[in-house]
């Protein structure tokens, strides 16, 4: 891979992706850990090519960094403080990895490019955690889903970016955003309710919740799901396309 400073990128502009998943009654965020000594977690991020729409760039970045594709990403906010720079992170990384890293002229050029102040456009998406198989790249040591309440310490302002993404998710859900993206193809009403309770961190009254969701008129009812439990089998539902 070519060094960033030699790519045809727009300088000082980045894109950060917050990918939400849902599993085990927990809202999760997909976060790679970068492949260097020291513990550095960073959202899937990248830069915008000169001839590329920012929406395209967000898709490409997500695909390249996680192998996730064909999902709907949406911008939610720009992060543009003057102090917003990779320098503290990069200095720490270099301190931890002094042995590996060359200090040639070329490295200096990359350092200068990378430690400039960056304006970042935040994108977010909801995915079915069972349908995507995130693949780490050589850049990364791992890529994992973390519960939104147990996020690792991330570089820069990436925690703030996740916070803002969550606020956007909560305020746009069922208006612009569709929670069913977080669920498998078929699901029970109980699973839908648990998902909503997780996202909004509050409980709903079962009977009224069921009515509210059915009144949306976006679900079709399938056959019953026999759970093996000694009680009535719930229906499965599917989101109408």
């Amino acid at each position: 891979m070519k060094n960033p400073s030699q790519q045809n990128y727009i300088s000082q502009v980045s894109i950060d992706c917050v990918i939400f998943g849902y599993h085990d009654r927990q809202l999760k965020v997909l976060i790679p850990k970068i492949n260097f000594k020291g513990d550095f977690w960073a959202l899937p991020s990248g830069f915008v090519y000169q001839d590329e729409d920012i929406d395209q760039a967000a898709e490409r970045i997500l695909r390249d960094r996680t192998s996730i594709q064909d999902i709907y990403l949406e911008q939610f906010r720009v992060f543009g403080k003057a102090s917003r720079t990779n320098k503290p992170f990069l200095d720490e990384l270099i301190a931890f990895n002094f042995d590996k890293l060359s200090v040639k002229n070329e490295a200096q050029q990359e350092y200068d490019w990378f430690t400039k102040r960056f304006i970042s456009i935040g994108y977010y998406a909801l995915v079915d955690i069972n349908k995507v198989v995130p693949q780490k790249t050589d850049l990364d040591e791992s890529i994992e889903w973390y519960s939104i309440h147990e996020l690792p310490r991330m570089i820069m302002d990436h925690s703030d970016i996740v916070d803002e993404a969550l606020k956007t998710l909560q305020s746009h859900l069922d208006d612009k955003i569709n929670a069913f993206n977080l669920l498998p193809d078929t699901f029970t009403m109980k699973e839908v309710q648990e998902l909503y309770e997780t996202i909004f961190d509050k409980t709903f009254v079962r009977t009224n919740f069921q009515k509210m969701i059915l009144d949306m008129n976006v679900l079709e009812r399938l056959e019953k799901k026999f759970t093996g439990a000694a009680n009535k089998a719930p229906y499965l539902y599917r989101f109408k396309k």
Copy 2:
């Protein structure tokens, strides 16, 4: 004023401001007409200094271009198509103003800087049209309030930017945004209703509207306003700070 390319700006990033006012039952947008031959209208725009937060930049740009200050600006969207460039506009401008414009090396450098692809961050604000006195700069031939339904043909995608700002205004009003910013210090209930009807382009039932607004509990009632009309004088109201 120094040429943009020699300023310490972040390159290929701009800020566009949509300033809403309200007068004569019409929602207005403040738009300068630039001081060149040919009819070129463009939103108050500018660039971001290296050591400046984007929010600060938006405030400075608005202040410099219109003399408006101390108002609350908020980012609402990024416009980032790869095709988003000033080149068509600038070429047209040069064709109209060939006599005035030099074609020296320095001008070429400005041309190259300015015709690159730009990512623009949209900001918007609501102001009391009677309280601000927009001042044009040397850059501009005029600066005027235009009814949102009779906007001049603007350069680039500036019409789209206004459309998006209006959508944001409508969806965030009374949630994040405060419509009373568009009114003078004191106003009658009828004026509030007319404002809302203008913004949402729909009518409200007078009695219920009054109840809704008063139930917000953000207005204080002042003395009556004697209009000279042969009927009951309406109360004046003021927004509680």
